[in-house]
């Protein structure tokens, strides 16, 4: 097992900047997710760690050893590809045995290890089959087996669950997490699915347009997003983001939009006003309380636009002027379209971002 360090790594393809100045450290035995929309450079990053791509700039270290110029075969990594990339002309057994054969491991040892891994992944019944005769979930296990059989120092997973159906995905999510903890292999997991990243990883590196946006544990990402991108990307349904400005009136600070006016807590208002006036206010759907009847003077007037029942709770769309809020409310709340209500945001859960830089102020 090793510690993986990406030291100021960039990768350019001609004029396209796939990854820019990436600084990342993955601790020994840690499970890190690279999260971002497609084209954000997360797979490129993974392929650089694998040694398939050579960084244009920067260094990659395994522990203290510089592996930047090492070919993939000398890095002792295991990798699962999105397409699984099983060798179609080989049986499951030969697919799993392939890395060991290349290492010139004795035949009996290969046999023992292949069967051991197959048993661990519950594919020992399938060893004689060709990949074409397997289901998606089985192929995924075989790919995982091929990556694990050589006892890699680093395990790289490139969207391994994206080709599975929803039910199997949730099952495999837990299984991969358990396996990783059991084997203690340093793991980098690429995904565009924030739920996958949140539920599995110890830490998440959120990327966008080739740049690292934030690198933190799931709770921090959720509660303290560093910028607008992370705020909008993490969480489902996404955070409400509303453009407006902060103004001071008679010693009180207000967040003002053409549709409504909201009084900010004094210390937040002071902090924001000292930096900028053009801001974006962010509040998660579960951090707004719907009040029917009279509320306090900080509540925002709104009209129920549409109600989407989600089973466990309601997703209520509320319009305040032209601004649409999404709010999670208890499932037993009786609401009708067009009904006038009050929205009471939880003051402690408010986020405010600088409109120009997108960075979080509060």
């Amino acid at each position: 097992m090793v510690r993986v360090t990406l030291d100021n790594v960039s990768k350019f393809f001609g004029k396209v900047k796939a990854v820019v100045d990436l600084e990342l450290e993955i601790r020994d035995g840690e499970f890190v997710a690279l999260l971002g929309p497609s084209g954000c450079g997360k797979t490129t990053t993974l392929l650089m760690v694998a040694g398939i791509y050579k960084p244009t700039r920067g260094r990659i270290l395994f522990d203290d050893e510089d592996v930047t110029d090492l070919p993939p075969k000398d890095r002792n990594i295991g990798m699962v590809f999105q397409s699984y990339a099983l060798y179609p002309h080989m049986t499951v057994y030969d697919n799993i045995a392939f890395p060991l054969k290349l290492k010139k491991v004795p035949k009996q040892e290969i046999d023992r290890k292949v069967r051991e891994v197959a048993k661990l992944l519950q594919i020992d019944e399938l060893l004689g089959r060709k990949p074409a005769q397997l289901s998606g979930g089985q192929r995924q296990r075989v790919a995982l087996g091929r990556a694990l059989v050589k006892e890699p120092d680093v395990l790289l997973l490139d969207e391994p669950l994206s080709n599975l159906d929803a039910k199997l995905r949730i099952l495999m999510r837990a299984e991969i997490k358990r396996l990783q903890k059991e084997l203690g292999i340093t793991t980098i997991y690429v995904t565009h699915d924030q739920v996958e990243a949140m539920s599995m990883a110890d830490r998440i590196a959120v990327m966008n347009k080739g740049r690292l946006q934030q690198y933190a544990d799931p709770q921090t990402l959720y509660n303290k997003p560093a910028n607008l991108f992370v705020a909008g990307f993490i969480g489902s349904p996404p955070m409400n983001l509303i453009e407006g400005s902060v103004v001071e009136e008679n010693g009180a600070y207000y967040f003002v939009t053409p549709s409504f006016k909201y009084r900010l807590p004094k210390e937040i208002g002071e902090l924001v006003a000292s930096k900028t006036s053009d801001v974006i206010l962010g509040i998660r759907p579960e951090d707004i309380r719907i009040v029917i009847g009279d509320g306090d003077d900080t509540a925002i007037n709104g009209k129920v636009y549409v109600v989407e029942p989600l089973g466990r709770d309601l997703l209520v769309n509320v319009k305040a002027g032209d601004t649409l809020f999404k709010i999670l409310a208890p499932a037993d709340l009786q609401l009708e379209s067009g009904q006038d209500i009050l929205m009471a945001p939880d003051e402690r859960k408010i986020h405010i971002f600088d409109k120009k830089t997108g960075k979080a102020i509060v």
């Binding site: 075969k73 295991g78 990798m79 590809f81 999105q82 990339a85 060798y87 290349l102 091929r146």
Partner: protein, 324 residues
């Protein structure tokens, strides 16, 4: 109802010109070849033959096949040996060397531009008109004025080692025959192979690299096994086309009418199909020439069956269950 009829008839209507071409240019000659092979048709009895075409008055005979199989024709043994040499050597260039070449061009050459330039270089002989290609070779190998001997001399090959004639002196003439045909033929396999290599998902190659394979092992253990079908296709296609091809030999060794027989034979480049051609168009022994061709057809069909058996043709033709 007319609509339904249209559905059945229309495809054939559209196919008709093509089918007509196939019948005229392929089926009819084949039937004719079979028929003529069992007659003693030559320039001498041509008029009578045309008059009696497909009637009982045409004499049917096995004499042609007796000449071939009982070695009554003294040239048969030598022609067969040259044909085997020709097909085997040029095939190894067109199918095997082209495979190595394609892997070198499409896999080991990572620079797309260089790869493209190399591919075009190998395509040049194919896009050159055949007669010009042949002429260029004739000029190239000319012992007095040609570039080849000058190049070899410049490289330090002693004059005494150079043949007085590349065209006539064995085994140089045979090497030349292989070179001329192999150089133009390799590009066919190259096109098929490079396209197939480029269509292998990059993930598969990356997976092998991550699994610990060297570039060479990737080529040997992943790329070549995945090219099974293209290899079968190129080998089968090239065997058949080589068995029946003689045009470059004819163009290089066969200047002048009637003369080619002598030159090609003494140069040791008289392949079976050229022999058949000479019998028909230099000696006007149409019946015998047809019999010679018929044997080529039979050999060709046997080879196809053999290839398909070896490569498991049926399995390969099944619709694939998954994309790789």
């Amino acid at each position: 109802m007319p609509r339904r009829l249209g559905r059945k008839v229309l495809p054939f209507l559209f196919l008709a010109p093509m089918l007509l071409m196939i019948v005229l240019a392929w089926v009819a000659p084949l039937i004719l070849t079979v028929y003529l092979g069992f007659t003693d048709l030559s320039i001498k009895n041509l008029l009578a033959f045309i008059k009696d075409f497909f009637t009982d008055r045409v004499q049917r005979t096995l004499e042609n096949f007796r000449r071939i199989f009982y070695a009554k024709d003294p040239n048969i043994g030598e022609t067969l040996r040259v044909t085997v040499l020709y097909v085997a050597s040029v095939l190894s260039i067109n199918a095997v060397y082209a495979l190595l070449l394609s892997i070198a061009i499409a896999y080991f050459t990572k620079n797309e531009l260089i790869s493209m330039i190399l591919r075009i270089t190998w395509l040049l002989p194919r896009i050159t008109p055949g007669i010009i290609y042949a002429l260029m070779w004739i000029w190239f190998i000319d012992p007095q004025y040609g570039l080849l001997n000058k190049m070899l001399q410049a490289m330090g090959v002693p004059d005494g080692w150079l043949p007085d004639s590349w065209l006539l002196r064995k085994p140089y003439s045979q090497m030349l025959m292989i070179m001329i045909n192999g150089y133009v033929g390799a590009s066919f396999g190259m096109i098929v192979y490079t396209a197939a290599i480029k269509s292998i998902p990059p993930d598969l190659v990356n997976a092998a690299l991550v699994d610990g394979a060297s570039e060479f092992q990737v080529a040997r253990r992943v790329i070549i096994p995945l090219l099974k079908w293209p290899i079968l296709f190129v080998t089968a296609w090239q065997t058949l086309s080589l068995l029946s091809s003689y045009e470059y030999i004819l163009m290089v060794w066969g200047a002048g009418s009637g003369g080619q027989y002598g030159i090609a034979r003494s140069a040791g480049v008289m392949v079976w199909s050229l022999y058949s051609y000479t019998k028909a168009f230099s000696e006007y022994l149409y019946g015998y020439a047809s019999a010679l061709s018929l044997i080529l057809v039979v050999i060709g069909l046997t080879l196809i069956v053999l290839y398909f058996k070896i490569f498991g043709f049926k399995r390969l033709m099944e619709p694939s269950r998954v994309e790789v």
